[in-house]
């Protein structure tokens, strides 16, 4: 048990660390519990932002499942457990893992890997060398890497845009959804094993990587 903070209506949680790990657990509650207990949460920007900072100490926050969460870190790993609202995460080398974002997700890492089990909205994921793994995304997807591999699952309701220079791309489409495909590659291989149609569009561009689309 840490220290409890009330949440002003419409506020977003912002967590900033240099190297400390960030763990956020979405659960059935109306306030925020932060550990270690001596950590403070400031209310900024007329109550729109709740901010907590740490250099190297790890933070664990228990939050309501509807809370929107932003995290900025240089090398700390970021782990969002359970459900949260929308997420915005930027890290240089930290590893990002998310169980479920009910809203949109925008995750950017330079060398860390990105893993999202479920996203209920649109999802943007960007990593230079890290792997991107998006289990199932309800909305539009933009996933770009330079050399990291991309694996993603789409509900097939909105556009999927994947780019990689040399990584491999694997797209799993929900059963019964038929994508229109736009592949672009220089030396890579492309393959589609699912029915094609006009339910939504998959744009996949690579220089030397391979692209594979399959039904889930």
């Amino acid at each position: 048990m840490g220290t409890i903070f009330a949440i002003p209506e419409g506020a977003r949680l912002r967590v900033l660390t240099v190297s400390g790990k960030v763990r956020v657990t979405g659960e059935d509650r109306i306030d925020i519990d932060i550990e270690p207990a001596e950590r403070n949460i400031e209310t900024l920007e007329d109550g729109h932002i709740l901010e907590t900072r740490s250099r190297s100490k790890d933070l664990h926050l228990h939050v309501p499942t509807w809370l929107n969460v932003s995290v900025g870190t240089i090398s700390g790993d970021v782990n969002l457990e359970g459900q949260v609202g929308s997420v915005k995460i930027n890290t240089v080398s930290g590893k990002v893992t998310i169980d479920r974002a009910n809203g949109d997700a925008d995750i950017r890492s330079i060398s860390g890997s990105i893993s999202v089990d479920e996203c209920g909205g649109r999802c943007r994921a960007n990593s230079k060398t890290g792997k991107i793994d998006l289990g199932h995304v309800a909305g539009a997807i933009k996933a770009h890497t330079m050399s990291g591999n991309i694996g993603l699952g789409t509900a097939g309701a909105d556009e999927v845009d994947v780019k990689t220079i040399s990584g491999t791309v694997e797209v799993l489409v929900d059963e019964g959804r038929a994508p229109r495909l736009r592949f672009r590659t220089i030396t890579g291989r492309t393959r589609c094993d699912c029915a094609q149609g006009s339910d939504f569009e998959i744009k996949a561009s690579t220089i030397s990587g391979s692209v594979e689309v399959r039904e889930r």
Binding site: R14, L16, T17, V18, S70, V71, G72, T73, I74, K88, I89, N90, V92, D106, R108, I110, R124, N126, K128, K142, H144, M146, K163, I165, S166, F183, R184, T185, I186, T187, S205, I207, S208
Partner: protein
């Protein structure tokens, strides 16, 4: 500095610092060769100069990108978006090299060092571009605070805080979008 010497304040150039980065260029060069790579760079520079429309200055050619400076952040954001729009209009045939450019913009008072720019605001701009996806224009909060609603057709979508090594405050970044 010797005792009694007068400290001369370095000249600054208030404005927008822009970094562009052509991603995948090394791989393209390895596959298609130096001649094709040179053609790609020439095309990129032509599109860039058209987008800039003499409103800013190419400070430095960085090989597969540029350092640019604009006195007006409005012109910087508009030119960056125009460059991405021009790239989007290029023919997209399978087998052609896609031109993937990402752009980062910061606003401040960099120091003039000959024709070059140096300082904190330049360093921040260089780090912003690292977080951009290809096709994106990312700008710092310092940019949005100086825009004063002068780009009514552009909206700025927050992409969250970025903690940068050696910089005490997090920088909030926005994606500039012209629908």
């Amino acid at each position: 500095m010797t005792a009694g010497a007068t400290k001369v304040k370095a000249p600054t150039a208030e404005g927008a610092v822009v970094f562009t980065d052509l991603t995948g260029f090394s791989e393209f060069t390895a596959i298609r060769g130096d001649e094709a790579a040179l053609e790609m760079l020439t095309l990129q520079e032509r599109l860039l100069r058209e987008a800039m429309d003499a409103r800013g200055r190419i400070v430095k050619n960085l090989g597969d990108g540029f350092l640019l400076w604009f006195p007006s952040v409005v012109d910087a954001v508009d030119a960056a978006l125009k460059l991405q729009e021009k790239i989007d209009e290029l023919p997209a045939e399978d087998g052609d090299m896609p031109m993937w450019v990402r752009i980062g913009i910061n606003y401040g008072r960099p120091i003039l060092h000959g024709d070059d720019l140096i300082g904190h605001d330049v360093n921040v701009a260089a780090r912003i571009v690292d977080f951009a996806q290809s096709g994106e224009v990312l700008v710092s909060q310092a940019c949005t605070e100086n825009l004063a609603d002068e780009l009514p057709d552009v909206y700025f979508d927050e992409v969250g805080p970025v903690v940068m090594k050696g910089i005490p405050d997090a920088v909030t970044l926005y994606r500039a979008v012209r629908p």
